[in-house]
Symmetry: C2
Subunit: 230 residues, 2 copies
DNA sequence: TGACATGTCAAACAATTGTTTGAATTATTT
DNA sequence: AAATAATTCAAACAATTGTTTGACATGTCA
């Protein structure tokens, strides 16, 4: 008995079924959620035996944790938060890139399209696996956004307005994915293709920039000497 | 055998267990979702026998449909979309009321606090029961918002900008609830009490108004003669 | 080749869960 | 009060599901 715990396999045979189980599990977990997903269905899609999940991952929950980490890593690797925009680019450009990359990650149609759905499910029913995802992935991304928003608002990153406005930006991105049931019901004609994602990125960026540059209390007392420093 | 289908009961005893089952089911469904909720737990909380669900509602799924309708009706009755703001009030006031009522409905702590969670779950795993909820509740509310936004943008309600901006408004409201796992993890100190809901309503309204009044293409070609007509 | 570890497989196990059943209890009607 | 209908109850049923088991196959190394 082997019972590896989250380490990459070395044997080519094992590596193959290991990877196929991950892919199949990602699909099924995304489609039906953790509880509704059956190991039988996962193994069927992976062309593996029923006992394969327990042999390779220990149990169903450990497999799920692996899938979550795997999808996060893949998605962030495919669409990094700033999409290659230069570090010294104007904050407006960075904001646009941040928004676009978030939309691309969520709406990705590729082989790892389960990332968005898995994250949506984690929002409602967070598992223990979500802890590390938040600390290792989401918090750094948030801090990146705070810096950008802080520059645009011209106020320190720990100002409450930075937090509120940053959430306002992110919320518009996740909405179209999380509430796509409603969006596509109210506007059945609208397809969610790459061109539309681009259009959404445009709107969200313009909407948010207009808001932040004309926010009633945006230019009040606070000094702006250290606005871009941390 | 009775097997009533979604009609209100007439017998006082039956009415009592019927209602208690609905309340208990609302709790459990909100906490754990449809699949993870067990009829045994629901009946336990309702002080009813295991067979009560099947006797009163037919099966577990029919009970769920009832719960969803019940929670929607209760929530909208408690917090109507415009919170009593006059029909001829300025659109800015109406927007603020719309935002506030949506937040109140979602964050409601009262006896029917499961409304928000149930809706979140329906977004990800829409059941057949969601169809009627969208058509009977959500679409009318959306049209109400489109009118308000159309007035603010000064363009017809079927303009694409109205749709995009309306979604931008709603998205900020649902975000704080749907992604509260992340929000409360990034800012553990922040409590989600009534005062904070008020503050959120303020920010979202100000942010959105600033955006809509200064949107780059907000005042282009379209005529505004029929802006408030439909 | 032979010994040994690794991986795969079909079958069975144990626990959970929605539902049904038929008797017992309670309420309503005649 | 008797009869009838409605409701509750404990027990059992049937299906699903995660997991385990022990045999069998495959590959590796002496």
């Amino acid at each position: 008995m082997n019972l590896k715990t989250s380490t990459a396999p070395e044997n080519p045979n094992q590596a193959e079924t290991h990877r196929q189980l991950l892919e199949a599990a990602g699909e099924v977990f995304a489609e039906t959620g953790f509880r509704d997903a059956t190991v039988r269905e996962i193994c069927r899609r992976a062309n593996a035996n029923i006992a394969a999940v327990n042999y390779h991952f220990g149990d169903k929950e450990a497999l799920y944790k692996e899938v979550l980490r795997y999808s996060q890593q893949k998605a962030l690797q495919k669409y990094p938060p700033l999409l290659g925009v230069a570090a010294d680019a104007p904050p407006e450009k960075k904001l646009r890139a941040f928004v676009h990359s978030l939309l691309l990650r969520i709406f990705d149609k590729g082989p790892t399209s389960w990332h968005g759905k898995l994250m949506s499910r984690e929002m409602i029913d967070p598992t223990a696996a979500m802890d590390s995802v938040i600390e290792e992935r989401i918090r750094p991304m948030s801090e990146q956004l705070w810096k950008i928003v802080g520059e645009i608002l011209d106020c320190p990153v720990n100002d409450e307005r930075v937090r509120l406005c940053s959430f306002s930006v992110v919320s518009q991105c996740v909405f179209y994915f999380h509430c796509r049931v409603i969006v596509s019901r109210l506007f059945p004609a609208q397809e969610m293709d790459a061109a539309y994602v681009e259009k959404l990125a445009d709107h969200i960026t313009r909407f948010s920039l207009a808001a932040m540059k004309h926010l009633p209390e945006a230019k009040t007392s606070k000094s702006h000497s250290n606005a871009t420093r941390n």
